[in-house]
């Protein structure tokens, strides 16, 4: 038991070392700050615009309606902001994940990982966590807008919190797709493009394939695999346990797939 516990400790410490190194490599690059700056620019723009729209609309409403519509700040202000954050993440995340494997392979530093006592799963999890931490920083920055709003407006915190939980889960899918894309190619450009394509793909795929067959089992399956739908549950302020599980399963599956890709690289 003691031995197993020690082994687990060693195992986790190795992952943490991997994560730390990649995390610092990403956040110390100028690219990270450019991304953050550009994102803030877009978000501020969207935020201010929707705040103005909200203000003028509630001005036009009768007092009583405006009061009970207090929660509507979520739809008028947070909703466009979330949409914007999500849109940018589609492109930001692949830019963060691109170098994780591609660069290691290109610079031949991958041999260090390969010849170290690490399993493929440790390597993939370590890299996933580092990119996820960076994405978390970016998402946290966008949350500042919500905090600022709370200074001058009263609203129910449940919906923003659940929305952000949904966003974090969705980002985990983006990150795992980005890590997979990075493992598939040793070219930075190609792995970024691949990552973006993957991310866009999950937004359009369900609409594209749902008409293929009218088989009820098929449409049920398509409905369950509908990532935007699961995300919307959270944005609407509903905590659906099956949606939560769905994200966890998808991310686990993608990490597993990447581990297999790394195993294949090893065997080539």
């Amino acid at each position: 038991m003691q031995v197993m516990f020690n082994n687990l400790g060693v195992y986790v410490r190795q992952i943490m070392a991997l994560t730390k190194k990649d995390f610092f490599q990403i956040i110390s690059s100028p690219m990270f700050f450019i991304i953050l700056g550009v994102s803030c620019f877009f978000w501020s723009f969207v935020y201010v615009r929707s705040l103005i729209v909200f203000a003028s609309e509630s001005m036009a409403m009768p007092v009583q309606m405006a009061q009970e519509g207090g929660m509507n700040i979520h739809y008028y202000v947070f909703f466009p902001l979330l949409a914007q954050v999500n849109l940018l993440l589609l492109f930001i995340v692949p830019a963060l994940t691109m170098r994780l494997f591609s660069e290691e392979r290109k610079l031949q530093t991958f041999d260090l990982l390969m010849s170290s006592p690490l399993t493929s799963a440790q390597i993939v999890i370590g890299k996933f966590c580092s990119a996820y931490k960076c994405s978390f920083i970016i998402i946290s920055v966008s949350f500042i807008y919500i905090l600022i709003t709370s200074l001058f407006a009263d609203f129910n915190w449940t919906m923003p919190f659940l929305s952000y939980l949904g966003l974090l889960l969705l980002t985990a899918v983006y990150v795992s797709l980005g890590v997979l894309a990075s493992a598939l190619s040793s070219s930075l450009v190609l792995s970024t493009i691949l990552g973006v394509v993957f991310n866009v793909f999950i937004w359009i795929i369900t609409n594209q394939i749902k008409d293929i067959s009218s088989n009820p089992i098929f449409s049920e399956l398509v409905e369950y695999l509908n990532i935007p739908m699961h995300f919307e549950q959270f944005v609407m302020g509903k905590f659906v346990i099956s949606s939560f599980c769905f994200f966890i399963i998808i991310v686990t599956f993608l990490i597993f797939l990447t581990v297999k890709v790394i195993d294949i690289l090893r065997w080539r």
Binding site: Q14, L107, Q108, L113, S115, R266, W267
Partner: protein, 309 residues
């Protein structure tokens, strides 16, 4: 300690390794030689688990590299042909990182970094960015990296490339210190390095093991003395006289220098040759005995088996 059996590696259609087998005992330092493209790097990458063979097995300490990857790699230090360095990391952070992923116990990490830095002469640059280091210092960081987990088996792919002569001697000394406690395989093109460090050599050529053996044994096997005589007035008469001598196999005339191949069994040939030259009155200047060194062995083997690839 290391056993490689019938290792074959194909890159697509190209056969890079063809049934390579050898073994290395614990505590041995073995030189891995071969012309460019012979398959040295390929063999080392397979041994360290970076590459899978098409067929054949590689064992370290009795454990198959691919069946027990983690256990075997824990005992392994590897310096790849291109040192695996991250330009945007500091030397010290990099070594710490390597120590952590190689399961160096947390408590010993700092001491281990210190000792590796000291062994490879990195003290002055330990707080600098790797991308700003010169090539030789990067190579040293690469060597330091391989030593971070106190490996039992050290696999070094051309470890002294780009180092200055003083550092070459230091690294040579370092490898000498590792002898007896560690098993070392090092590939190199500098043959004097092998002669200085290694007890044994494995020469590989076009993906096959051409020769393996003790260095001294190899010299014996190749034993074939040759003499060079320099005279003032070379003549064809002297040439035929020399050729007629007992124990002389062949004489080549190179503008006043006669290169004489001597058969291994013959004794006192030096004496005979000298006397013949002096008696002929051609003006004796110099008599030199050539011993075969590794270079000759190397050239002999790689030539006799067809040109390089």
């Amino acid at each position: 300690m290391i056993r490689v059996q019938n290792l074959t590696k194909k890159y697509g259609d190209r056969l890079a390794l063809d049934q390579v087998s050898f073994s290395v005992a614990g505590g041995e330092v073995v030189g891995f030689l071969g012309p460019n493209g012979a398959g040295k790097t390929t063999t080392m990458r397979i041994l360290t688990g970076c590459l899978a063979p098409t067929s054949g097995t590689a064992e370290i300490d009795g454990k198959d590299v691919f069946e027990y990857p983690v256990q075997t790699k824990e005992k392994l230090g590897y310096l790849p042909e291109i040192p695996p360095l991250y330009g945007d990391m500091y030397v010290e952070d990099y070594l710490k990182y390597v120590g952590q992923i190689k399961r160096c116990p947390a408590r010993q990490l700092k001491d281990q970094v210190d000792s590796c830095v000291k062994k490879t002469g990195l003290s002055q640059v330990r707080s600098r960015l790797i991308q700003n280091l010169s090539k030789g210092y990067r190579q040293r960081v690469g060597i330091a990296q391989a030593l971070m987990n106190n490996p039992d088996v050290l696999i070094l792919d051309e470890p002294t490339v780009g180092l200055d002569p003083a550092q070459v001697i230091e690294i040579r000394g370092l490898i000498g210190d590792l002898k007896h406690h560690h098993t070392v395989i090092l590939s190199t093109h500098i043959l004097s390095e092998v002669e200085a460090n290694c007890e044994r050599v494995i020469i590989i050529h076009q993906g096959k093991v051409a020769v393996t053996g003790e260095l001294s044994e190899l010299r014996q096997k190749m034993h074939q003395k040759s003499l060079s005589v320099r005279v003032e007035q070379p003549s064809s008469q002297l040439l035929s006289q020399l050729q007629a001598l007992d124990g002389v196999k062949e004489v080549q005339d190179e503008r006043g220098i006669y290169n004489i191949s001597v058969s291994a069994e013959a004794s006192n040939v030096n004496d005979l040759v000298a006397r013949t030259v002096i008696d002929s009155g051609a003006g004796f200047l110099e008599l030199k005995e050539n011993k075969f060194n590794l270079e000759d062995i190397f050239i002999h083997i790689t030539r006799s088996q067809g040109g390089g690839s």
